[in-house]
Symmetry: C2
Subunit: 332 residues, 2 copies
C-alpha cells in the first residue's frame, strides 16, 4: 500500500453540495485528497420527472464534473454533446424548455429503467460513479423524493425546474419549501458516512444555501448528525462581495430580505459551522465572522483554482483541530 | 378544388402493412394516388417496451418512410442520425442490443409520455403523421397490446424483438402466436376505414405474412371485415422465386414446412384476396394462381420502382372491378 492509499484509509472528508459551484470545489477536493478520501452528499431537491424520465440535475452535475465529462461552457450536461433528440422533439411538438443532450439522455433513461426495476438512486449513482472511474463516493441525500418548491411573490408556486430553468429565476422568491422532506429518510450511505469515525472534516460547498444546501439540511437527521459530529464543519462562501459567481443566490437573498453578503451566509449556517472560507476581496469581513476564517481567491476558473480553494478549505479544517486530517495532509 | 382533391374525395385505397418492404409500397401508393387517397393499417405486433419506452417499430418505419425521413441504408430509423445516446448507454452498462438513434429516441420518449398522459396510440400516430406532413392516414391496427411471440425449435419462446433484432432471426421458428390478439379491439380508425363506402381497394403489402400481416389479421373483426368488403383485396408478393427481398420470410416458411414460393403466399391468404401481384421472374406461376394476377418487377430500389409496383397493384384492383378507383386513376 502506498502513502496515498494509507492516508485514504486513515479518514475521509465529507462534502455537502448542490450544483456547478459545489461540484467544482468537490473536483478540487478530489484532486488534492488521497484517492477515496472524499465522500459527497448531493442535493436531490431539484430532482424531477420530465418526459417520463427521472432527472437528478445536481447528482448528474457532480458525476459529470468529477468524471471530467462536464460541459464547462454550458455549466450543465456533458461535454462534446449532440442535440438530435431535442431537434426532433421540437418537430413532434414535445416540451423543449428543459434541454437534454443526446448523451446526457442515456443517464436519465438508464436511471429511470433501473429505478423502475427496484434499485435505489443510491445504488444507481454508486454504480455509475464506478463506471465513470470516479474515486470519490457520491451519495444522494435521500432515496425518497424531496422537491424544492418556490413560492413566488404575488402568489402561486413553481416546481424548482420551472422556476430555475423554464423561467430562468425571473420570478421573485417569496418563500421556499422542500416538499416530502419531512418524511424523507436520509440515505443510509449518507447516514453511515456522517457517523463514521473516519470522518475528518465536513465541507459545505459554495452552493446556493436556499436551493442546494437547505433541502439537504431539511432531511430529518441531517442537522442533528452535523451538530453531533466531532469533525469540524467548514463552509465556503458562494458570494464575493454582494454577488454570486453564478446563479441567483444574491437575487434570492434580496427577495427574501436578507442582505447579500458572505456574513449573511454565515448567519444562515449559524450553529452548524466551525470555520468559514472567505474570498480575498472580502478579507475585511473576517474579523466580524466570530469563527475561524481563512481567506483565499475563491473564483474557480481553472483546475488549479479548484485545487487552491480545496487546499484552503482543508487547511482551515486542519487548523481548527482535526489532527487525523492534518496527519493525512502531511502524508499525501 | 382541383382534380387531385376531387379524386381523393371520391375514395381511398387501404393498405395493410408491416415493416420496410410494406412501407416502400405504401410510399409508392402515396405518390401515385391523389393526396389523401391512401390509408394504412399498420402492424403493432412487434411493438414492445424497452428501456421503459413504448416502441412501435412498424408504425415508425411507416411514418419515417412516408415522411421521407427513413434511413434507407439501415432499413430502419431516421436518416442523418446521430448515436450519442447509444454510446453513453454502453458506458453505463445499459442494454444496447436494440439500437436507438438520438433523433429516433425523441419519437419513443414523446410517444411514451403521451400514452402515459392518456392519449391512444391512434391519436398520437395521427398527430405525428400530421406534423411530419404526411398526406396519408396511418392507423395502428389496435390501441390494445398485441405481441408477436416466437416459439423456437427445441422449446422456449422469444419476444419478437429478441428474435428479430437481438438474435437476428437465427433461431428456427416452430410456431408463432400473437399474445393479446384475442382480446384486442381493432382500432376505431381502422374499423371505420374498413367499413367506409369510399373504400376502393385493399392492398396487402409485400410484408412478411407471419410477422407483419398475421398479427393484424389476428385482431378480432379484421378477417370478417376483409371478407365483407366490396372492394377488391390485392396481395403483393414478398417473394421473388424462393427468396425474400429482405428479411426472414423464406427462412421462416422453410422452418414451418411451407415451400417458399409466391404460390405459398397466395395459399396463406386463401379466401382473403382477389388478385395477386407476382414478380416478373415468377411469371410462369401466374397460370397456377387461380385468381387474377398482374406481373411486374417487384424489386423496389428507387422511388420510381415504388411507384411502378404501386401502379401495377392499383391497375390490378381496377381490372378486377373497382369502377370508382378506375375513375379516380383516370382523373389523377
Amino acid at each position: 500500500m502506498n502513502t496515498r492509499n494509507r492516508a485514504a484509509a486513515d479518514g475521509f472528508v465529507l462534502a455537502l453540495t448542490g450544483g456547478i459551484g459545489g461540484a467544482k470545489l468537490c473536483l478540487g477536493l478530489q484532486r488534492v485528497l488521497p484517492a477515496g478520501g472524499l465522500r459527497i452528499i448531493v442535493n436531490t431537491g431539484d430532482d424531477f420527472e420530465h418526459l417520463g424520465l427521472a432527472i437528478s440535475p445536481d447528482v448528474d452535475t457532480t458525476l459529470y464534473t468529477l468524471a471530467g465529462l462536464a460541459n464547462v461552457e454550458l455549466g450543465w450536461g456533458r461535454q462534446d454533446e449532440t442535440w438530435s433528440f431535442m431537434r426532433v422533439l421540437e418537430t413532434l411538438g414535445g416540451p423543449t424548455w428543459f434541454r437534454l443532450g443526446d448523451g446526457d439522455l442515456a443517464l436519465h433513461v438508464e436511471r429511470t429503467r433501473r429505478l423502475a426495476a427496484g434499485e435505489t438512486l443510491t445504488e444507481i449513482v454508486a454504480d455509475i460513479a464506478r463506471r465513470f472511474g470516479i474515486s470519490s463516493r457520491i451519495m444522494p441525500m435521500s432515496d425518497d423524493p424531496v422537491r424544492t418548491i418556490v413560492a413566488v411573490a404575488g402568489g402561486g408556486e413553481l416546481g424548482f425546474q420551472e422556476y430555475f430553468v423554464r423561467d430562468r429565476c425571473a420570478p421573485a422568491v417569496a418563500q421556499l419549501r422542500y416538499a416530502g422532506a419531512d418524511s424523507a429518510r436520509i440515505s443510509s450511505a449518507a447516514a453511515q458516512s456522517l457517523q463514521d469515525p473516519a470522518l475528518r472534516a465536513i465541507v459545505i460547498a459554495p452552493s446556493n444555501p436556499y436551493l442546494s444546501i437547505d433541502p439537504l439540511l431539511a432531511v430529518p437527521g441531517m442537522r442533528t448528525a452535523l451538530r453531533a459530529r466531532a469533525a469540524p464543519v467548514i463552509a465556503v462562501t458562494p458570494l464575493i462581495g454582494e454577488s454570486a459567481v453564478k446563479g441567483p443566490t444574491a437575487k434570492i437573498m434580496r427577495e427574501l430580505g436578507v442582505p447579500p453578503s458572505p456574513l449573511s451566509i454565515l448567519q444562515h449556517y449559524n450553529g452548524l459551522v466551525d470555520g468559514f472560507v472567505l474570498d480575498e476581496r472580502d478579507a475585511a469581513l473576517a474579523k466580524e465572522a466570530g469563527i475561524p476564517v481563512r481567506v483565499c481567491d475563491t473564483l474557480m476558473r481553472s483546475l488549479g483554482d479548484r485545487e487552491r480553494v480545496a487546499r484552503c478549505t482543508l487547511e482551515l479544517a486542519q487548523a481548527i483541530g482535526s489532527p487525523p486530517l492534518a496527519q493525512k495532509l502531511r502524508e499525501s
